[in-house]
């Protein structure tokens, strides 16, 4: 029942935001709906971690450990970003009230499409949900209505839709294979079970088409070119969703293929996961050194982290997969926090240029502190979760004998750490070039930072037993 409610609530919130009631109450309505969805999602996750799988509506909706992890993260960032939107969107000058209403109408539907991806049992319907994440967020990316924002929105829609159409062909070929194997309901569970009977000549091209097609939306190099544009031009609240969870939601689909391919004879997805992952991490690290725009910096960091998670999945084994699940969690929490901090910095200084910001700690101490904390969290300093998850992944690779992969990954991670902290250090400390008036930061944005900081700090220090259970269930769903 909870599963269905999670998908119904955002529809109601969207309709109310667009109705006359939404003229004044779109933001609080969205907040109420996302809070309810978060509570339901935590409930579902607790159940899924305990029993292994939750089903609803005759099996049309289903949720196992990996799905529940993604579901909770989407719901959580959906909530914090809604809270941040309240003050941030109201404070953007030059937007009439119907723009704000449309923002919340689309916001709720965008979150709905991401919630649907891990819940829909039918793989075909899941493809449609992934495709809708792009189409529903296109106008949110272009919300600022500047030439740059529209350019970013255009590239985002054309390239990720092209990717999704390639993935569609992949899913059609996968369906072809599942019919040859005599599988009737086209679900992930059924695919894992039917994989050994599918002709490898069909399974393999299907895998490659989906990896490259959806890899475009995840931001894997070399299909990543749209990502830094969209993730830097959208409003900060939308960036938190795009970078924090939308990429993860699509990566989730690619991770789902891992046990399917693993079950087939003579096929090995691991070199492809590790190859694409390492190239993404390496190129993102290089781009992080030369980046000039602090929102682009966090966008490149997303490419880096997607690469790390893919490498972890490719290394295989329970330990590496546990590291991947932990990294997914840490990244979603830290990256959304970073974009909230970046949004506050934009409010304080009025642009996104790293070189033009000096001594932020004097003009806007809150934004500066948030940037430093977010920087440490995302770059992987102790005591944050990403430090632990990266250690787990490196250790798992080392014990598995993948010395070259581990060496390269460690090198890239360390260089990326230095690059991110160098840029943030430049912005936060030093003497300001010009005096900036202390900005008035909306209360809802301050509350968002406080709320988003709690899980960020807590799960780095210790992992509560229910979360550990969920991470283990997620790792198990990725296959050995």
């Amino acid at each position: 029942m909870e599963l269905a409610a999670i998908l119904v609530l955002p529809v109601i919130a969207s309709a109310l935001s667009l109705s006359p009631l939404g003229r004044r109450y779109a933001a609080p309505l969205t907040l109420v709906s996302t809070t309810a969805v978060l509570i339901l999602a935590v409930d579902v996750a607790a159940l899924a971690a305990h029993t292994g799988r939750v089903d609803a509506l005759d099996g049309w909706l289903t949720c196992d450990g990996l799905g529940a992890l993604v579901l909770v993260l989407v719901a959580l960032v959906g909530f914090t970003a809604a809270l941040f939107s309240w003050g941030y969107i109201a404070g953007r000058a030059g937007h009439p009230v119907h723009h704000v209403q449309r923002y919340y109408g689309l916001y709720n539907l965008f979150v709905l499409s991401m919630l649907a991806v891990p819940l829909l049992a039918n793989v075909a319907l899941m493809w449609i949900a992934v495709e809708l994440t792009t189409l529903l967020s296109a106008f949110l990316v272009g919300y600022e209505d500047t030439a740059e924002a529209l350019e970013a929105a255009w590239k985002y829609v054309i390239l990720t839709t092209l990717g999704a159409v390639f993935a569609l062909l992949g899913f059609l070929v996968l369906y072809w294979g599942s019919r040859v194997a005599g599988l009737e309901p086209f679900t992930w569970l059924g695919l894992v079970e039917a994989a050994p009977r599918m002709p490898p000549a069909l399974l393999w091209p299907a895998f490659l088409l989906i990896l490259v097609g959806f890899g475009t939306k995840v931001g894997l190099v070399p299909m990543h070119t749209w990502l830094p544009d969209a993730h830097s031009q959208a409003p900060a609240s939308i960036c938190a969703l795009l970078s924090g969870v939308e990429t993860t939601t699509v990566l989730y689909v690619i991770l789902r293929l891992f046990p399917v391919i693993g079950g087939a004879h003579g096929l090995d997805a691991r070199p492809w996961f590790i190859g694409f992952g390492l190239i993404s991490v390496g190129v993102a690290t290089l781009l992080l050194i030369y980046v000039r725009d602090f929102k682009r910096m966090f966008a490149f960091s997303t490419v880096e982290h997607m690469g790390i998670i893919l490498v972890a999945a490719g290394l295989g084994g329970t330990e590496a997969h546990l590291g991947a699940a932990y990294q997914i969690t840490g990244h979603a929490l830290a990256k959304s926090f970073c974009f909230f901090a970046a949004g506050m910095t934009v409010m304080a200084v009025g642009n996104q240029d790293i070189a033009s910001v000096r001594g932020l700690i004097r003009s806007s101490p809150l934004a500066a502190l948030a940037l430093v904390a977010g920087g440490f969290a995302i770059a992987g300093a102790p005591p944050f979760a990403i430090f632990v998850s990266e250690l787990v992944i490196l250790k798992a690779g080392f014990t598995g004998g993948h010395f070259i992969v581990v060496g390269l990954l460690a090198l890239f991670v360390v260089v990326a750490f230095c690059a991110v902290m160098f840029h943030i250090n430049r912005m936060v400390f030093g003497i300001p070039d010009r005096s900036i008036a202390a900005p008035t930061i909306p209360t809802s944005c301050k509350l968002t930072l406080a709320f988003a900081a709690i899980p960020l700090v807590v799960i780095g220090v210790f992992v509560p037993a229910p979360l550990l259970g969920l991470l283990r269930a997620a790792a198990a769903a990725m296959g050995g």
Partner: protein, 225 residues
């Protein structure tokens, strides 16, 4: 070909497929926006024809549904939507800017078509399926040509038509490899294509209003220095 059970329909489908590929080549090579829209409509009609032929041969109701949806969305809805949103861009006669000249584009297109056959061969060798030998490689070729169109065109309308041509290619292949597909084909065609067209069309109108052009190739503010 591979379908001795339906020799006449197979021959007609092969002819349709050849024309389908020619239309895709036309979308790559034509100089005018209006002509590329007309070629796209022609391509969609040929997709419909192939779906009807396969629907008759395989006795599949789903393929008739795909045909009906394709006719409505791609030959009626999309041209209407383009006229509503960016009519000045579509109906003003002028040449489209492109990143590569036409002879080189066609040469590369030929390479892409050969590549499509090379990729399709192992799949066809593994599983026999009536009509797949015709539709899969031709659909794949149309996908590559559509993607190539997006890369070489620098304007919004041709890029959108390239994207929809890729979608046509996927369906041209799809109707042969999964003729009984209950959910994907119909829902995707019925929901996805109009939504893509709507979102892209509205975005184009917004770009046109803000910038006075839809020459998206000139939008290059966002890049690494």
């Amino acid at each position: 070909m591979s379908s001795p059970a339906f020799p006449v329909i197979a021959a007609l489908d092969a002819l349709t497929g050849a024309l389908f590929l020619l239309a895709a080549l036309g979308v790559v090579a034509t100089r005018q926006v209006l002509a590329s829209l007309q070629l796209f409509i022609l391509q969609s009609l040929l997709l419909t024809l192939s779906a009807v032929l396969l629907g008759i041969a395989l006795d599949s109701f789903h393929l008739f549904a795909v045909a009906a949806i394709t006719i409505v969305t791609k030959t009626l809805l999309i041209p209407w939507l383009l006229r509503r949103t960016v009519s000045a861009e579509v109906y003003r006669t002028r040449e489209i800017e492109r990143a590569l000249n036409i002879p080189s584009s066609l040469l590369l297109s030929a390479v892409l078509i050969v590549l499509a056959y090379v990729i399709a061969n192992p799949l066809l060798a593994a599983v026999t399926m009536p009509f797949a030998a015709i539709n899969l490689p031709l659909g794949l070729a149309a996908i590559f040509l559509g993607a190539f169109t997006i890369v070489v065109r620098r304007e919004a309308v041709p890029q959108m038509l390239g994207l929809l041509a890729v979608e046509n290619g996927v369906f041209f292949a799809g109707i042969a490899i999964v003729p009984s597909l209950p959910v994907i084909a119909e829902l995707a065609a019925a929901v996805d294509v109009p939504v893509i067209a709507l979102v892209v069309g509205l975005l184009m109108r917004q770009i046109y209003r803000r910038l006075g052009t839809t020459s998206v190739g000139h939008l290059a503010a966002l890049r690494e220095q």
